[in-house]
């Protein structure tokens, strides 16, 4: 990973020095070594804080909505999954593609510090990765963890490849994997209505409406959110209606249906650890099953499943009759 970081830093320097781009979007050191945060670098000097490591899970594509409107070009480092969000935003005319220079960077999955902390004792001092081994040093000793068990949930089932690039920095190829991202959704589907209701009630009751999911989501990037739109009939002032609170997640999932690239950022940032990606993934699974496989963000043009149709589409009632493809 260090070699990739060096290469990225080198390119960032070159691009800024030559004036080819006005800024570079990447990650910079956070308060702890495991919480790098997205940042915009405008000078070579600022790059001293640049970092790319096993904890750079954040999707940088959403920042381009604003950045691509600025004077001069913006270079951005995008992991495979981020490029889907990028394409989706280009498709929706939110990112000015001509103002962006995309550097596709390799990703061999990113680590979930919460999972690491859970599996170790003491304060985490360093984390190193060697193939499938994650070596953790804490104040209480050394641990070797199995990498697939401590990656971000979005990485656990990822098989994405870069869909947009102007150049790439890939030093290590990721092996193809056989993964089923719908496994958890299928488990829920196999439950009874009562069980599912209990599950979701338990999960959603944890929500504190901090809007972290909305803020991080590249598909949730409206100029003004429908929940803040006074004409939508669902915007609520504090004591007006509980509707906003109750059904926020249903509407949010519906609004990103057909546009959600399954980047998994919602679950990653949720402070209450609600598996929000399982909401979006249900829509993805239904869309795939009912209307044919569709991956949002695979291209930067074309209609989404909810803005297209075929004459022979399944009837809503038949969805439950097991007549789905």
């Amino acid at each position: 990973m260090k070699d990739v970081e060096m290469k990225m830093l080198e390119r960032a320097k070159q691009l800024l020095e030559s004036g080819e781009v006005a800024r570079v979007i990447g990650w910079k050191k956070g308060e702890f070594f495991y919480d790098p945060t997205p940042a915009s670098f405008e000078t070579v000097d600022e790059l001293k804080d640049f970092v790319y490591d096993w904890f750079c899970g954040a999707n940088l594509s959403k920042y381009l909505i604003q950045m691509s409107k600025k004077e001069g070009k913006t270079a951005v480092f995008l992991k495979p999954c981020d490029t889907y969000s990028f394409n989706q935003l280009v498709k929706e005319h939110r990112i000015k593609r001509e103002n962006v220079y995309v550097i596709a960077v390799e990703c061999l999955a990113k680590l979930n510090i919460e999972a690491i902390k859970e599996k170790t004792d003491g304060i985490v001092k360093s984390v190193d990765v060697e193939d499938k081994d994650v070596k953790v040093v804490t104040t209480n000793g050394e641990y070797t963890l199995y990498k697939p068990e401590v990656v971000l949930s979005k990485c656990a089932v990822c098989n994405k490849t870069h869909q947009a690039k102007d150049e790439e920095i890939i030093l290590h190829e990721r092996p193809e994997r056989d993964v089923n991202r719908f496994e958890e959704v299928e488990k829920l589907e196999a439950m009874t209505e009562d069980e599912r209701f209990a599950f979701w009630k338990g999960q959603l009751s944890k929500c504190i409406r901090c809007n972290a999911c909305r803020n991080v989501c590249p598909a949730c990037s409206c100029v003004k959110c429908v929940f803040d739109n006074p004409h939508s009939g669902i915007a609520a002032k504090a004591n007006d209606s509980e509707f906003e609170e109750q059904l926020f997640h249903v509407i949010r999932a519906f609004h990103v249906a057909g546009r959600c690239t399954d980047c998994g950022e919602c679950s990653r940032v949720c402070p209450q650890h609600i598996p929000l990606h399982l909401l979006n993934r249900k829509f993805i699974k239904d869309i795939d099953g009912l209307y044919g496989e569709f991956q949002a963000g695979e291209t930067d043009e074309g209609k989404t499943p909810l803005t297209s149709y075929t004459e022979g589409d399944i009837e809503p009632k038949d969805v439950f009759n097991g007549e789905a493809k």
Binding site: F197, W200, L204, Q246, V250, P316
Partner: protein, 151 residues
């Protein structure tokens, strides 16, 4: 899970029916002029096309205490606005499947295509839907699926 009500009063569900102006609303008119009855607890909201029905309307209805929501539109291929009901079909297929995934009884939501000529069908559909929702009982889940702090 089932709460047994001690009250003997018969449960009468509240049903909201969204009907497109050109087919289903006219179908309901025909049911009326043919004197084909259906329960009075069905109340119709006229929309220009079934594709005007936003999922937020459906959810709002449940939140406000509806026990069942039904959308009616022109038969696929007969949409007054050419393609409107094709979008309705996809939206509602996905929305209703999703609500069921969250544990909402699938029988509470329905989409039916009723033409302006199908007064009898309109009445039959409403009778059937009311019967189904009555059997289900009161809608508690959608109003309950809320964020409650410190539950």
């Amino acid at each position: 899970m089932q709460e047994v009500s001690t009250e003997k009063k018969e449960f009468v569900p509240n049903i909201v029916a969204f009907c497109c102006n050109w087919c289903s609303y006219a179908g309901a008119d025909l049911a009326g002029s043919s004197r084909l009855s259906y329960p009075a607890n069905v109340k119709i909201i006229r929309v220009p096309c079934s594709c005007r029905v936003n999922p937020t309307f459906v959810l709002k209805a449940f939140q406000q205490g509806a026990d069942g929501v039904i959308l009616c539109g022109c038969h696929p291929g007969d949409c007054h606005y050419v393609t409107g009901n094709y979008y309705t079909r996809r939206r509602m297929a996905l929305l209703f499947s999703f609500l069921n995934y969250m544990g909402i009884e699938k029988e509470r939501t329905r989409v039916e295509w009723v033409s302006a000529a199908e007064g009898a069908r309109f009445s039959a559909v409403m009778n059937d839907f009311v019967k189904t929702v009555t059997a289900l009982g009161e809608n508690k889940r959608l109003t309950d699926l809320r964020v409650k702090e410190g539950e």
